[in-house]
């Protein structure tokens, strides 16, 4: 049986512990982990052109580095309406530097394609062609609100009404570190090694080309009025590093096979076939 002294000792222990816990709760700064974002950018999106029927959604995206290694390195806004001429938006972003703020279009039943840019902060258009200029932004702290981040958006850039079809023939041994293969149609020949130039000057890039095959068919969606100066096969390494993207073959001029062939959709047609490309891995340096 417990003596009164032991009972008192127990009571003191329990009271002390309870007091200590209550003191900690009331006086210590408690860490609550994740918190809401307060810093944001706001601005206006000014649309031109018509949204294609195949539009799934349009979102604003911020990238610390462009191009990102991965589509998930983009910080997306919620869906942006595209059924009105201008839209005011706000995008909550953590503090930091952002190289590109862009508006990206997504086609129904397809994944996000980083080439489908319809507007960039600091960028502009000549006709429907996006000029490869952009303006970085910096959010210095958790409370900053950057206003006036307005973006000109041209929906015609993705309103593609014609198709190019052909075959790609792969010769030689596939490189061990192949990750993905794309094929792209460009309005001008992009600057070699400048990956950003590839995205801005593309009309369409299709990344769903099978790998480790001898030949495959492909399709690209373009505008009827485009003059396509360059149609190229693009190679991406096993790390899917878009920064290391390179072209490994292009559609050649039938008269001068050392030069790229120019493709113009004949008037009255919305499809052109037999734009075949040969890739010889023994010559690509891969």
């Amino acid at each position: 049986m417990k003596t009164p002294n032991r009972k008192i000792r127990w009571s003191i222990h329990v009271s002390f512990l309870t007091g200590l816990i209550l003191f900690c709760f009331t006086n210590c700064r408690i860490d609550h982990g994740l918190e809401p974002l307060f810093s944001k950018i706001t601005g206006r999106i000014i649309y031109t052109g018509d949204a294609p029927r195949r539009t799934d959604e349009i979102r604003l995206a911020a990238a610390h580095d462009f191009p990102p290694k991965d589509i998930n390195e983009l910080l997306f806004s919620e869906q942006i309406p595209y059924d009105q001429d201008t839209v005011d938006y706000e995008l909550y972003l953590p503090q930091g530097e952002y190289e590109v703020i862009a508006l990206i279009w997504k086609e129904k039943s397809r994944s996000w394609n980083i080439s489908d840019l319809i507007g960039v902060y600091g960028g502009s258009f000549i006709g429907d062609q996006l000029i490869p200029t952009y303006q970085p932004i910096t959010i210095p702290d958790k409370q900053t609100v950057l206003k006036g981040i307005d973006i000109q958006a041209n929906l015609n850039r993705v309103n593609r009404d014609a198709t190019i079809e052909g075959e790609i023939l792969f010769e030689g041994a596939w490189p061990e570190d192949t990750g993905a293969i794309g094929v792209g149609a460009f309005i001008e020949i992009p600057e070699q090694g400048n990956v950003i130039d590839y995205f801005f000057k593309s009309i369409d890039i299709n990344y769903s080309i099978p790998t480790w095959v001898a030949r495959t068919a492909y399709q690209l969606r373009v505008h009827k009025t485009d003059t396509l100066e360059y149609i190229a096969v693009l190679w991406i390494n096993q790390d899917y590093d878009l920064g290391a993207l390179k072209d490994i073959g292009f559609y050649r001029d039938s008269l001068d096979p050392s030069s790229p062939g120019v493709v113009i959709i004949p008037e009255g047609l919305d499809r052109i076939e037999n734009i075949d490309i040969v890739v010889d891995f023994s010559e690509t340096g891969k």
């Binding site: 127990w10 982990g33 809401p36 290694k69 910080l75 919620e78 994944s111 996000w112 990344y207 769903s208």
Partner: protein
Amino acid sequence: MKAILYTLSSLLFFLSTLHAQQTGSIQGRIVDEKTEKPLSNVNIVLQKTVLGTSTDRDGFYVIVSVPPGSYSLQISMLGYQTKTIPNIVFRSGETTDLNISLTDTPIPMDPIVVTAGKHPQSLSVSTQAIDMVPYTEIIHRQSRTIPEALQRISGVHFNESNISIRGSSGYNVINVGSRVLLMVDGIPVLTSDLGAINWDMLPLIEIDHIEVVKGAGSALYGSSVIGGVINIITRTPSPNGRFQLMATAGIYDQPHYEEWHWTNRTLHYERIDGSYSRQFGPLGIGIHFSRYRTTGYMENNEIDQWNGSGKWVWKISNSSRLDLYVGWNSTKMGWLIQWLSQNDPFEIAPFNKKDEAKFKTWNVYAQYYLALSDRLGLKLRISHLVSQMGSQFTTDDPNAFKPGQGTGWEIQADWIPAGFHHLTFGNEFRWDISGSKYFGDHKGYTISPYLQDEWALLPRLTLICGMRLDRHVLIDEKTETEISPKIGLNMQPFDQSILRMSIGKGFRAATVLERYMKADYSGIHVMPNPDLKPEKSWLFDLGWRQSISSRGLIEVSLFQTEYWDMIEPVINFLGTIQFQNYVRARIRGVEISTDMGFWQNHLELGTQITYMDPKDLARSETLPYRPKWSGNVTGTLSLGPLSFQIEYRYASRVEKVEIHPLDPRVPLKLLYLRGEFKWRNWTLQCAVNNALNYHYAQIERRMGEIRNFSLGVQMELGH
């Protein structure tokens, strides 16, 4: 054929001569040392034989057919110190009377486990790191799910329902391809199509204890034992009848930040478990049920779950027993992929609001035990597992998935040819059927002979070596053969010290879903990869377990696991996912766990700390979703009928994630406060879970559980 018949008849003749020897027996009663009340369901094992029994409702036991000689008797029960009585002499035709008293202990010092060697053995002779969660602990911690009950074990980490033992696994949304094998009463229950774990497949009230074996163990259990084994041992029916009812209800608090408040509804959960079991002569029956329902703490986070199960144990004779088990689960839940935004983390996108998932599981098995002599025991089992997914990937096709069906057979023998060898050998066969519009119809089987020898080289030194061959055939598609060896040493240099070491291989064959899944869901494309190879690992484990009188123990483990051809979902820049063999990895680490009792065990203190270095050697990066540091501290103060518990869990911020690498990440810092009051057959409980209302996302864009308050009541009649 004639040769086989001749061999079989010779074997039977040999066995019958063994049986015909003159034998002795032992009987007695087992009581609690303090109260002198009889203890039922106490395990009694005659060491270096396959003979054993358990006490009846009045604490009585009897073991017959013991050949003359000197034996050690081991007596164990959860909540009591295991006792070993050496040098009991048996003479032919004589019965030895032996009454025994057991001392209670809150700390399981040397419990009996069955998972390490596929037969009951003292944890002190194991060569691998093993932890155990008894039923009482599940109750004291007021766990609502099995993952909650396992959280305190060192080296065990959960990313939602994905279990990782010593960093074995990262995360995938449907828990496909588990690297930890889940078993119920020693029978594998991974689903046939996904190779996944359904943690909700049985009522909590049915669990006797859970054994956790850490590290690769394919030498005994085959595919999927890369990270370890979780073996849930269900309760045997009570000798004198037991009725139990547990009910818990709780409410969720609001998020700490007002900006995150999203509903004025009171969000809540309720769980009720019921159980009745009793022995009627040689037949014991147990039936259990549970219902769990919650609104969840986020949008589209509801769960509605039913469980039912029955177990029949028929003690045919003193040397044979038949167990039958049927378990059923039905779960319907909201399907939540990610939050709407960091500023609306408890809400989801409008087009995901109707997404839901349904799961149904049937688990049936029969196991027959037969002691052919004191040195030869047989176990035969047949099992069938049906698991069905509902329409979570499509809203318009409820039949997108056919039930995954796995039928298993196993014959296992335990033979003790001499006192210093214990051979365990047998053959396991599994037949799997799965089908879905996403990965097609597939059938396959696995045939797996295995052998293990526990060799007592010296009285305090045991060598364990074993090997298993798994031949996995996916009909008309692929055949894979894996040989998995292991070797282990157990040494007891001092009375209360155990030094153990083990090296073993683990492997996991790719699941049907990982090979053949082709689907589009929410803008994510999954591509098949039929050429996946099995992933493999080698474990090196060194451990020291030190008991400090009866008041506590300390265990330290050093481990290194090498991985080859790890199967991981690889996401490319387009959001396309494909399972690929790509990682050569190494995980090194140390685990320290202590359990101590102070002030005559009024205060118990338990700590677990794990440090790991999970390295992707191919890319010189940290493996994703693995915290380097994790651990918990639990203090329990017991004052007569009252007890209070405080638990703090911590896991460091994960260095790498796969899906949204730019999202903010925080360490895990969770505080739990629990109280309990016992009065006669009743127990009242209360708890504050996540008492500091700490907000975290173990998986990107999926908020962890917020603060909630619960009240519970338990009633138990009989024991």
